[in-house]
Protein backbone atom coordinates (compact mmCIF):
# COMPACT_ATOMS: atom_id res chain seq x y z
CA UNK A 1 0.00 0.00 0.00
CA UNK A 2 2.82 2.39 0.87
CA UNK A 3 4.61 1.63 -2.38
CA UNK A 4 1.43 2.21 -4.40
CA UNK A 5 0.70 5.47 -2.58
CA UNK A 6 4.25 6.65 -3.26
CA UNK A 7 3.81 5.78 -6.93
CA UNK A 8 0.56 7.78 -7.14
CA UNK A 9 2.23 10.80 -5.52
CA UNK A 10 5.23 10.54 -7.85
CA UNK A 11 2.92 10.57 -10.89
CA UNK A 12 1.01 13.51 -9.44
CA UNK A 13 4.28 15.35 -8.89
CA UNK A 14 5.42 14.56 -12.44
CA UNK A 15 2.10 15.88 -13.74
CA UNK A 16 2.45 19.00 -11.63
CA UNK A 17 5.98 19.67 -12.92
CA UNK A 18 4.91 19.18 -16.55
CA UNK A 19 1.87 21.46 -16.08
CA UNK A 20 4.03 24.21 -14.58
CA UNK A 21 6.90 23.82 -17.00
CA UNK A 22 4.74 24.05 -20.13
CA UNK A 23 2.28 26.48 -18.47
CA UNK A 24 -0.61 24.11 -19.35
CA UNK A 25 -4.19 25.04 -18.37
CA UNK A 26 -4.72 21.44 -17.16
CA UNK A 27 -3.97 20.58 -13.50
CA UNK A 28 -1.11 18.27 -12.55
CA UNK A 29 -3.19 15.33 -11.22
CA UNK A 30 -5.04 14.98 -14.54
CA UNK A 31 -1.73 14.87 -16.41
CA UNK A 32 -0.51 12.38 -13.79
CA UNK A 33 -3.55 10.22 -14.53
CA UNK A 34 -2.72 10.33 -18.24
CA UNK A 35 0.91 9.39 -17.58
CA UNK A 36 -0.02 6.48 -15.33
CA UNK A 37 -2.59 5.28 -17.87
CA UNK A 38 0.08 5.39 -20.61
CA UNK A 39 2.54 3.51 -18.37
CA UNK A 40 0.01 0.77 -17.65
CA UNK A 41 -0.91 0.50 -21.34
CA UNK A 42 2.76 0.05 -22.25
CA UNK A 43 3.49 -2.41 -19.42
CA UNK A 44 0.28 -4.32 -20.04
CA UNK A 45 -0.42 -5.14 -16.39
CA UNK A 46 -1.38 -3.64 -13.03
CA UNK A 47 0.12 -4.98 -9.79
CA UNK A 48 -2.35 -6.24 -7.18
CA UNK A 49 -0.95 -3.74 -4.72
CA UNK A 50 -1.63 -0.76 -6.98
CA UNK A 51 -5.11 -2.05 -7.81
CA UNK A 52 -5.92 -2.52 -4.11
CA UNK A 53 -4.73 0.94 -3.10
CA UNK A 54 -6.55 2.60 -6.01
CA UNK A 55 -9.76 0.79 -5.08
CA UNK A 56 -9.36 1.91 -1.47
CA UNK A 57 -8.98 5.57 -2.51
CA UNK A 58 -11.78 5.49 -5.08
CA UNK A 59 -14.25 3.62 -2.92
CA UNK A 60 -14.84 6.79 -0.91
CA UNK A 61 -14.16 9.33 -3.63
CA UNK A 62 -17.22 11.27 -2.42
CA UNK A 63 -15.55 12.04 0.92
CA UNK A 64 -12.80 14.00 -0.83
CA UNK A 65 -15.28 16.58 -2.16
CA UNK A 66 -16.73 17.39 1.25
CA UNK A 67 -14.19 20.08 2.34
CA UNK A 68 -14.59 22.06 -0.92
CA UNK A 69 -18.37 21.65 -0.79
CA UNK A 70 -18.54 23.05 2.73
CA UNK A 71 -17.11 26.26 1.20
CA UNK A 72 -20.71 26.97 0.18
CA UNK A 73 -20.94 28.88 3.48
CA UNK A 74 -18.67 31.60 2.04
CA UNK A 75 -21.19 32.37 -0.68
CA UNK A 76 -24.55 32.48 1.07
CA UNK A 77 -24.89 36.17 0.15
CA UNK A 78 -24.52 35.68 -3.59
CA UNK A 79 -26.58 32.49 -3.52
CA UNK A 80 -29.42 34.37 -1.81
CA UNK A 81 -29.23 37.24 -4.34
CA UNK A 82 -29.05 35.15 -7.49
CA UNK A 83 -30.54 31.84 -6.41
CA UNK A 84 -33.03 31.56 -9.28
CA UNK A 85 -30.44 32.10 -12.02
CA UNK A 86 -28.00 29.72 -10.29
CA UNK A 87 -30.42 26.91 -9.51
CA UNK A 88 -32.10 27.04 -12.93
CA UNK A 89 -28.74 27.17 -14.70
CA UNK A 90 -27.27 24.22 -12.78
CA UNK A 91 -30.41 22.11 -13.07
CA UNK A 92 -31.15 22.71 -16.76
CA UNK A 93 -27.54 22.58 -17.87
CA UNK A 94 -26.80 19.34 -16.00
CA UNK A 95 -29.87 17.53 -17.34
CA UNK A 96 -29.32 18.82 -20.91
CA UNK A 97 -25.62 17.87 -20.84
CA UNK A 98 -26.36 14.32 -19.63
CA UNK A 99 -29.15 13.89 -22.20
CA UNK A 100 -27.17 15.31 -25.17
CA UNK A 101 -24.04 13.29 -24.33
CA UNK A 102 -25.92 10.02 -23.76
CA UNK A 103 -28.09 10.31 -26.89
CA UNK A 104 -25.16 11.29 -29.10
CA UNK A 105 -22.87 8.55 -27.81
CA UNK A 106 -25.59 5.91 -28.20
CA UNK A 107 -26.29 7.07 -31.77
CA UNK A 108 -22.59 7.10 -32.69
CA UNK A 109 -22.03 3.64 -31.20
CA UNK A 110 -24.98 2.26 -33.17
CA UNK A 111 -23.66 3.87 -36.35
CA UNK A 112 -20.26 2.30 -35.71
CA UNK A 113 -21.84 -1.11 -35.22
CA UNK A 114 -24.03 -0.75 -38.32
CA UNK A 115 -20.99 0.09 -40.41
CA UNK A 116 -19.78 -3.40 -39.61
CA UNK A 117 -17.29 -2.41 -36.94
CA UNK A 118 -17.32 -6.09 -35.89
CA UNK A 119 -18.56 -6.16 -32.29
CA UNK A 120 -17.77 -2.51 -31.59
CA UNK A 121 -19.75 -1.18 -28.68
CA UNK A 122 -20.81 -4.56 -27.48
CA UNK A 123 -19.72 -6.08 -24.19
CA UNK A 124 -16.26 -7.59 -24.57
Amino acid sequence: MLLALTLLLVYQLLGEVIAQFFALPVPGPVIGMGLLFATLAVRGAVSDELRGTANGLLQHLSLLFVPAGTGVMLHFGRLADEWLALVASLLISTVVTIAVSALLLRALMRALMARGGADAGRES
Partner: protein, 243 residues
Protein backbone atom coordinates in the same frame (compact mmCIF):
# COMPACT_ATOMS: atom_id res chain seq x y z
CA UNK B 1 -21.09 28.32 38.74
CA UNK B 2 -20.14 24.84 37.77
CA UNK B 3 -16.30 24.54 37.67
CA UNK B 4 -16.51 22.17 34.68
CA UNK B 5 -17.83 24.85 32.30
CA UNK B 6 -14.70 27.06 32.19
CA UNK B 7 -12.55 23.95 31.73
CA UNK B 8 -14.66 22.90 28.75
CA UNK B 9 -14.34 26.43 27.41
CA UNK B 10 -10.53 26.17 27.61
CA UNK B 11 -10.57 22.81 25.88
CA UNK B 12 -12.78 24.26 23.13
CA UNK B 13 -10.40 27.20 22.64
CA UNK B 14 -7.49 24.77 22.40
CA UNK B 15 -9.20 22.36 20.02
CA UNK B 16 -10.73 24.99 17.76
CA UNK B 17 -7.21 26.20 16.96
CA UNK B 18 -5.97 22.70 16.05
CA UNK B 19 -6.50 20.98 12.69
CA UNK B 20 -7.62 17.81 14.49
CA UNK B 21 -11.16 19.10 14.98
CA UNK B 22 -11.84 20.01 11.34
CA UNK B 23 -10.43 16.72 10.12
CA UNK B 24 -12.30 14.57 12.62
CA UNK B 25 -15.56 16.45 12.02
CA UNK B 26 -15.24 15.88 8.27
CA UNK B 27 -14.78 12.13 8.72
CA UNK B 28 -17.55 11.85 11.32
CA UNK B 29 -19.98 13.79 9.15
CA UNK B 30 -19.13 11.58 6.19
CA UNK B 31 -19.47 8.36 8.22
CA UNK B 32 -22.92 9.46 9.38
CA UNK B 33 -23.91 10.53 5.86
CA UNK B 34 -22.68 7.26 4.38
CA UNK B 35 -24.56 5.27 7.00
CA UNK B 36 -27.74 7.17 6.14
CA UNK B 37 -27.06 6.68 2.41
CA UNK B 38 -26.86 2.91 2.97
CA UNK B 39 -29.95 2.93 5.18
CA UNK B 40 -31.80 4.48 2.20
CA UNK B 41 -30.61 1.53 0.05
CA UNK B 42 -28.11 3.75 -1.76
CA UNK B 43 -30.83 6.03 -3.14
CA UNK B 44 -29.07 8.81 -5.10
CA UNK B 45 -31.11 11.55 -3.38
CA UNK B 46 -29.44 10.60 -0.08
CA UNK B 47 -26.15 11.73 -1.60
CA UNK B 48 -23.27 11.40 0.90
CA UNK B 49 -21.58 14.66 -0.21
CA UNK B 50 -24.82 16.63 0.11
CA UNK B 51 -25.62 15.19 3.55
CA UNK B 52 -22.07 15.72 4.86
CA UNK B 53 -21.94 19.32 3.64
CA UNK B 54 -25.33 20.12 5.18
CA UNK B 55 -24.24 18.68 8.53
CA UNK B 56 -20.88 20.48 8.51
CA UNK B 57 -22.33 23.85 7.52
CA UNK B 58 -24.89 23.52 10.34
CA UNK B 59 -22.17 22.65 12.90
CA UNK B 60 -19.78 25.41 11.78
CA UNK B 61 -22.60 27.94 11.71
CA UNK B 62 -23.86 26.93 15.17
CA UNK B 63 -20.38 27.14 16.72
CA UNK B 64 -19.45 30.32 14.86
CA UNK B 65 -16.40 28.64 13.33
CA UNK B 66 -15.03 30.36 10.20
CA UNK B 67 -14.56 28.22 7.09
CA UNK B 68 -10.82 29.00 7.01
CA UNK B 69 -10.37 27.52 10.52
CA UNK B 70 -12.31 24.41 9.53
CA UNK B 71 -10.32 24.03 6.32
CA UNK B 72 -7.00 23.93 8.20
CA UNK B 73 -8.03 20.45 9.30
CA UNK B 74 -10.15 19.46 6.28
CA UNK B 75 -7.30 20.24 3.87
CA UNK B 76 -5.77 16.83 4.59
CA UNK B 77 -8.85 15.18 3.09
CA UNK B 78 -8.96 17.76 0.29
CA UNK B 79 -5.34 16.98 -0.56
CA UNK B 80 -6.19 13.35 -1.33
CA UNK B 81 -8.17 14.51 -4.38
CA UNK B 82 -4.82 14.68 -6.20
CA UNK B 83 -3.63 11.07 -5.72
CA UNK B 84 -7.24 9.85 -6.16
CA UNK B 85 -7.38 11.57 -9.55
CA UNK B 86 -4.14 9.83 -10.56
CA UNK B 87 -5.57 6.52 -9.30
CA UNK B 88 -8.44 6.82 -11.80
CA UNK B 89 -5.94 5.58 -14.39
CA UNK B 90 -6.36 2.03 -13.01
CA UNK B 91 -10.11 1.44 -13.67
CA UNK B 92 -9.57 3.28 -16.94
CA UNK B 93 -6.84 0.85 -17.94
CA UNK B 94 -9.20 -2.06 -17.27
CA UNK B 95 -11.40 -0.74 -20.14
CA UNK B 96 -8.51 -0.26 -22.56
CA UNK B 97 -9.75 -2.70 -25.24
CA UNK B 98 -13.21 -1.13 -25.32
CA UNK B 99 -11.76 2.40 -25.33
CA UNK B 100 -9.73 1.63 -28.43
CA UNK B 101 -12.78 0.45 -30.36
CA UNK B 102 -14.87 3.43 -29.29
CA UNK B 103 -12.26 6.19 -29.59
CA UNK B 104 -14.05 8.22 -32.27
CA UNK B 105 -17.60 8.16 -30.81
CA UNK B 106 -16.18 9.02 -27.38
CA UNK B 107 -14.16 11.95 -28.71
CA UNK B 108 -17.07 13.46 -30.67
CA UNK B 109 -19.40 13.07 -27.69
CA UNK B 110 -16.82 14.67 -25.45
CA UNK B 111 -16.57 17.86 -27.52
CA UNK B 112 -20.36 18.14 -27.89
CA UNK B 113 -20.94 17.51 -24.17
CA UNK B 114 -18.24 19.92 -23.05
CA UNK B 115 -19.60 22.78 -25.15
CA UNK B 116 -23.22 21.98 -24.20
CA UNK B 117 -22.38 22.09 -20.48
CA UNK B 118 -20.71 25.51 -20.62
CA UNK B 119 -22.99 27.24 -23.13
CA UNK B 120 -26.27 26.03 -21.57
CA UNK B 121 -25.16 27.06 -18.08
CA UNK B 122 -24.16 30.57 -19.18
CA UNK B 123 -27.23 31.01 -21.40
CA UNK B 124 -29.74 30.09 -18.69
CA UNK B 125 -28.02 32.27 -16.08
CA UNK B 126 -27.87 35.20 -18.52
CA UNK B 127 -31.55 34.82 -19.44
CA UNK B 128 -32.53 34.95 -15.76
CA UNK B 129 -30.44 38.02 -14.97
CA UNK B 130 -27.41 36.39 -13.37
CA UNK B 131 -24.47 38.80 -13.06
CA UNK B 132 -21.46 38.56 -15.36
CA UNK B 133 -19.23 37.18 -12.58
CA UNK B 134 -21.83 34.54 -11.76
CA UNK B 135 -22.08 33.52 -15.42
CA UNK B 136 -18.31 33.18 -15.75
CA UNK B 137 -18.11 31.23 -12.48
CA UNK B 138 -20.81 28.87 -13.81
CA UNK B 139 -19.16 28.18 -17.18
CA UNK B 140 -16.64 25.52 -15.98
CA UNK B 141 -19.05 23.89 -13.50
CA UNK B 142 -19.04 20.47 -15.15
CA UNK B 143 -15.32 19.78 -14.72
CA UNK B 144 -13.53 18.51 -11.65
CA UNK B 145 -12.89 21.04 -8.85
CA UNK B 146 -9.17 21.85 -9.29
CA UNK B 147 -9.47 22.30 -13.07
CA UNK B 148 -12.69 24.31 -12.78
CA UNK B 149 -11.12 26.69 -10.26
CA UNK B 150 -8.14 27.25 -12.55
CA UNK B 151 -10.39 27.95 -15.54
CA UNK B 152 -12.64 30.31 -13.54
CA UNK B 153 -9.62 32.34 -12.52
CA UNK B 154 -8.47 32.57 -16.13
CA UNK B 155 -11.77 33.71 -17.62
CA UNK B 156 -12.68 36.14 -14.83
CA UNK B 157 -14.99 34.13 -12.55
CA UNK B 158 -14.67 33.60 -8.79
CA UNK B 159 -12.71 30.37 -8.14
CA UNK B 160 -14.21 29.72 -4.69
CA UNK B 161 -17.76 30.23 -6.02
CA UNK B 162 -16.94 27.91 -8.92
CA UNK B 163 -15.80 25.22 -6.46
CA UNK B 164 -19.22 25.30 -4.80
CA UNK B 165 -21.10 25.30 -8.13
CA UNK B 166 -18.98 22.34 -9.27
CA UNK B 167 -19.97 20.35 -6.19
CA UNK B 168 -23.65 21.28 -6.62
CA UNK B 169 -23.49 20.20 -10.28
CA UNK B 170 -21.94 16.90 -9.23
CA UNK B 171 -24.67 16.25 -6.67
CA UNK B 172 -27.46 17.19 -9.12
CA UNK B 173 -26.06 14.88 -11.79
CA UNK B 174 -25.54 12.01 -9.35
CA UNK B 175 -29.13 12.34 -8.17
CA UNK B 176 -30.79 13.11 -11.51
CA UNK B 177 -28.99 10.94 -14.06
CA UNK B 178 -31.04 7.79 -13.42
CA UNK B 179 -34.28 9.67 -14.19
CA UNK B 180 -32.87 11.11 -17.44
CA UNK B 181 -31.65 7.63 -18.43
CA UNK B 182 -35.00 6.05 -17.61
CA UNK B 183 -36.81 8.67 -19.70
CA UNK B 184 -34.50 8.21 -22.68
CA UNK B 185 -34.13 4.42 -22.22
CA UNK B 186 -30.32 4.59 -21.98
CA UNK B 187 -29.20 1.13 -20.84
CA UNK B 188 -25.57 0.69 -21.93
CA UNK B 189 -23.28 1.00 -18.90
CA UNK B 190 -20.54 2.71 -20.92
CA UNK B 191 -22.95 5.38 -22.20
CA UNK B 192 -24.48 5.92 -18.75
CA UNK B 193 -21.05 6.37 -17.20
CA UNK B 194 -19.55 8.54 -19.93
CA UNK B 195 -22.44 11.02 -20.05
CA UNK B 196 -22.51 11.32 -16.26
CA UNK B 197 -18.74 11.86 -16.15
CA UNK B 198 -18.97 14.68 -18.71
CA UNK B 199 -21.79 16.47 -16.88
CA UNK B 200 -20.88 15.74 -13.27
CA UNK B 201 -17.12 15.03 -12.99
CA UNK B 202 -15.89 13.20 -9.86
CA UNK B 203 -19.15 13.11 -7.90
CA UNK B 204 -20.87 11.66 -10.96
CA UNK B 205 -17.96 9.22 -11.26
CA UNK B 206 -18.35 8.17 -7.62
CA UNK B 207 -22.03 7.54 -8.32
CA UNK B 208 -21.26 5.63 -11.54
CA UNK B 209 -18.87 3.32 -9.65
CA UNK B 210 -21.79 2.40 -7.39
CA UNK B 211 -23.73 1.30 -10.49
CA UNK B 212 -20.94 -0.79 -11.99
CA UNK B 213 -17.19 -0.91 -12.46
CA UNK B 214 -17.65 -0.34 -16.19
CA UNK B 215 -19.87 2.73 -15.78
CA UNK B 216 -17.34 4.08 -13.27
CA UNK B 217 -14.39 3.59 -15.61
CA UNK B 218 -16.14 5.41 -18.47
CA UNK B 219 -17.19 8.19 -16.10
CA UNK B 220 -13.58 8.55 -14.95
CA UNK B 221 -12.45 8.74 -18.57
CA UNK B 222 -15.10 11.38 -19.37
CA UNK B 223 -14.14 13.39 -16.30
CA UNK B 224 -10.46 13.43 -17.20
CA UNK B 225 -11.04 14.20 -20.87
CA UNK B 226 -13.65 16.86 -20.12
CA UNK B 227 -11.23 18.61 -17.77
CA UNK B 228 -8.77 18.73 -20.65
CA UNK B 229 -11.35 19.70 -23.31
CA UNK B 230 -12.96 22.43 -21.20
CA UNK B 231 -9.61 23.89 -20.16
CA UNK B 232 -8.73 24.22 -23.85
CA UNK B 233 -12.16 25.19 -25.29
CA UNK B 234 -13.67 27.47 -22.68
CA UNK B 235 -11.20 30.39 -22.77
CA UNK B 236 -11.69 30.33 -26.56
CA UNK B 237 -15.50 30.24 -26.28
CA UNK B 238 -15.53 33.10 -23.78
CA UNK B 239 -13.39 35.33 -25.99
CA UNK B 240 -15.73 34.50 -28.92
CA UNK B 241 -18.88 35.27 -26.91
CA UNK B 242 -17.56 38.53 -25.48
CA UNK B 243 -16.17 39.47 -28.87
Amino acid sequence: MNPVTPRLGEIWVYLSASPLLGLTLTLLAYQAAFWLHKRCNGHPAANPVLLSVLALVAILWATGTPYATYFEGAQFVHFLLGPATVALAIPLYAQLARLRRLALPLLLTLVAGSVTAAVSAVAVAAALGGSRVTQLSLAPKSVTTPIAMGIAERIGGLPSLTAVLVIMTGILGAIGARYVYRLLAIKDEAVRGFALGIASHGIGTARAFQESEQAGAFAALAMGLNGLATALLLPLLVSLMTG
